[in-house]
Symmetry: C3
Subunit: 345 residues, 3 copies
């Protein structure tokens, strides 16, 4: 159990209070007790300090006067909180060796201290960097390469020739490099287009559980450095996800679409294929992106929930919208309002 002083030293932050105070763990303000460290990251939460029982709080130096307990002073409390989670991290650690029940091709190249857990399968010509961790039952296909310190979790499938950078995490049951959805229509049905390219994933990328990133047909699917992708996300063949872009759960990116850097795509948003999204674009939840977005900023689409009967009326009227607009034009003609508008112009 670290002390407040040790945390301050580790984080290179100033503290207020007894440095020997033991910190048992992290907790949110409303459930933290005397032995916990908590945090306030935004002004709007400062009022919660009055009722918290936390013994120690991470907060901005400007807010120190409204808090009388122990404190870790940070110009960026939320980032400090993120750093502290590593200290209290309780995830299992890699064993540093290859389990007897793992299946590893003779010619696979394994770096130092690689961990391969039970039931994992490493195909020929795979290259695993130092300290790579392949979880139980995960699969790494022919010729795939995984950079240093990357973790492939249980049941994840990394298909042949996929390249993943350093310090990435691929969560359980995710599939990287399955065939893109490419077929040519013919009178006799769909003709499969073999997907000849692969997937390139940069450094420091995290991809959630049960997501899919398809391999490209002729051009690689690319996920840039520092991108973060949530669960159940679809990245189609030939798409490009920019650096530090975040894509939330159940969002989908169609084929060949290019997303810029530092974008945020909220949950269940869908991007049609062959479009370009500029840097720093934020798309709201369930956003329906049917054409390129050339300007940074926040965008939304969809309609709010209403009580069912009211919504049924709204939805029905939606289908009449073009008629409604035309009737307004008629009314403006009938009342002369159209003339007045012309006059103003």
């Amino acid at each position: 159990m670290p002390t407040l002083g040790e945390l301050a030293t580790y984080l290179e932050l100033e503290l207020r209070g007894d440095p020997d105070t033991p910190i048992q763990g992290l907790a949110a303000l409303d459930i933290a007790k005397q032995e916990h460290l908590s945090f306030v990251s935004e002004k709007k939460h400062l009022h919660r300090l009055a009722s918290t029982q936390a013994g120690t709080v991470i907060l901005h130096p400007d807010w120190l006067e409204i808090w009388s307990g122990n404190a870790l002073l940070s110009a960026a409390p939320y980032i400090t909180y993120a750093h502290v989670t590593r200290i209290f991290d309780n995830h299992p650690r890699p064993s540093g060796h290859v389990h007897d029940a793992a299946i590893v091709a003779d010619n696979a190249q394994l770096g130092d201290k690689v961990t391969i857990d039970a039931g994992a399968c490493i195909e020929p010509d795979v290259v695993l960097g130092d300290r790579v961790w392949i979880g139980a039952g995960a699969y790494v296909g022919h010729g795939a390469s995984i950079g240093e310190d990357t973790v492939i979790k249980q049941g994840a499938v990394i298909c042949h020739a996929v390249k993943i950078g350093q310090r990435c995490t691929i969560h359980p049951n995710t599939t990287i490099g399955a065939d893109g959805f490419g077929f040519a229509p013919s009178d006799g049905g769909w003709v499969k287009i073999e997907q000849l390219a692969t997937v390139l994933i940069g450094d420091d990328v995290e991809i959630g559980a049960n997501s899919t990133v398809d391999r490209g047909a002729l051009e690689d699917t690319v996920v840039g450095d520092g991108a973060i992708i949530d669960n159940l996300v679809q990245i189609a063949h030939g798409a490009r996800v920019g650096r530090q872009t975040a894509i939330a759960s159940q969002a989908g990116v169609s084929g060949s679409t290019q997303i810029g850097d530092r974008c945020v795509i909220a949950g269940q948003a869908g991007l049609v294929g062959h479009i370009v999204i500029a840097d720093d674009v934020h798309i709201g939840g369930q956003g329906r992106v049917a054409s390129s977005v050339t300007e940074a900023g926040h965008y939304g689409s969809g309609t709010p929930i209403q009580p069912m009967r009211a919504w049924l009326r709204s939805a029905s009227r939606f289908t009449q919208l073009d008629q409604i607009a035309k009737r307004i034009v008629e009314l403006e003609k009938a009342t002369g309002l159209d003339q007045q508008k012309d006059d103003k112009v």
Copy 2:
């Protein structure tokens, strides 16, 4: 093959007809034959009795006069039908022992008659209750506990420290307890927030295939007793799903959102984070829930499909709605209708 009489005894129901009638299986009214048992659960389907070839039908006693064949009389025919499916259930049964090709940590605690199939991996400190069944290739992480009679199907991944109650079913390739999607934005990119809490799943919970329930950052993600969750559903970190709540396929629940008891969330609905949904709320398909819902009832959002050209016009007009509303105000001023309204008030 049971007889009608045996079914009636098992179900504690009255019958009409020869108790020795063999019942070969269950079938829907329109395809059932003489040897089958069928059912009518709603008045609106009663007319289908006229044309069915079913030999025996489960129905309400009030409906008996319009059906001349064999009958099982039930005040709740649909629930009776559900009970009967167990009798004809043809799912494979657990072997009751640990397969030679399973990997089980020495210190894992296994209850009586636990089944662990080939390729499954049970990590140290796991506790499996009596009659637990871990399917082929499934994974149970360090310190996880699984209650009596629970089934973890093939390829499912239960991460470290997750707690699952009794009589639950987790379907194939589902992931419980992967890291929540938590990152702090910084100038240098996203800083990972280690997810220190876990997932608590109650008793009698069913979770479909390829779904994800993430572990919490500081507070556990909770799924209440009797909840049912379909395939490809996302439950984000720190969310709470109430007792007996049903969540249909491809719906998503964002972080820290709390859903009450007995709610029904239809397919592809999306709930934003940090909101509260009252008990007995029903959200329609693709519902877009962006704020708390405090009253029980049915809610919907979205727009109906239209033929493509008509829809394109509706969608275009949607973006003009604010102008349309303002033009109506102008028209009401021009025609004096606004005055009349004021007079009425």
Copy 3:
């Protein structure tokens, strides 16, 4: 490396240029070099021929005069491109035998040249046709049957009694035949309806990664010959997908819904249960299909993205639509426009 002449012979096409030209690979027009084969499939892309560095291009004979390089002449260039991808396909090939670390039930019937990779599990009474390939860690349940030349990729789970036809591909981590989401509501909670039927998948079907096709309750879930299904798609119990129908990523088909032949369901579209979709229906991305579609054609729903503030106004006005429409009626009365309309009729 094939020559142009060899390709022309294989494809039964005419060529222009030196038949001995070696073709190193396929590439899109904008990145192809002298050693590559590229293609133009639509007139609108013909202008790109002016700047391409491709040595050889697949194109329609009518377009030959605007291209001076080597050419493969095809009446259907895109289909020819699809055929050529097979020649350059670089996917790993099946070994043709059963890996030592596969678990295969004694009474499973294996055709000629079946491949079963490491960690795969084949349960009793399974039938695998000639040249079937079961990938690493995949699972085939009791009594399931897989037709000739079908590939079940890594981590896919095929549940008991599922029947899959010939020449199909099931991509990684997909689940076929998990229980449909069937429960009867009762005062004591949800009563499970055992799913007694199975899944029937025709010939030449491709199903993407991390998708789910549930088994039926009383009637089988059916996917017709030549259907193509993308990643993260949900096909619920008792649904029927017609022949050569395409379903894109993250779309969902609810229980008992029947989709005709040659339909196209775009990404994230959702179909409610118990409806019928005619042949040759195309549903746009995120389409919300709440009732049967009886006429072939293209359909859409949803709203376009807008900058966030503008969208918030549109969305707010959407909830007022019924009032807006009624106010227009009032205005039409006040201006006499309603009379004029009646007069016209």
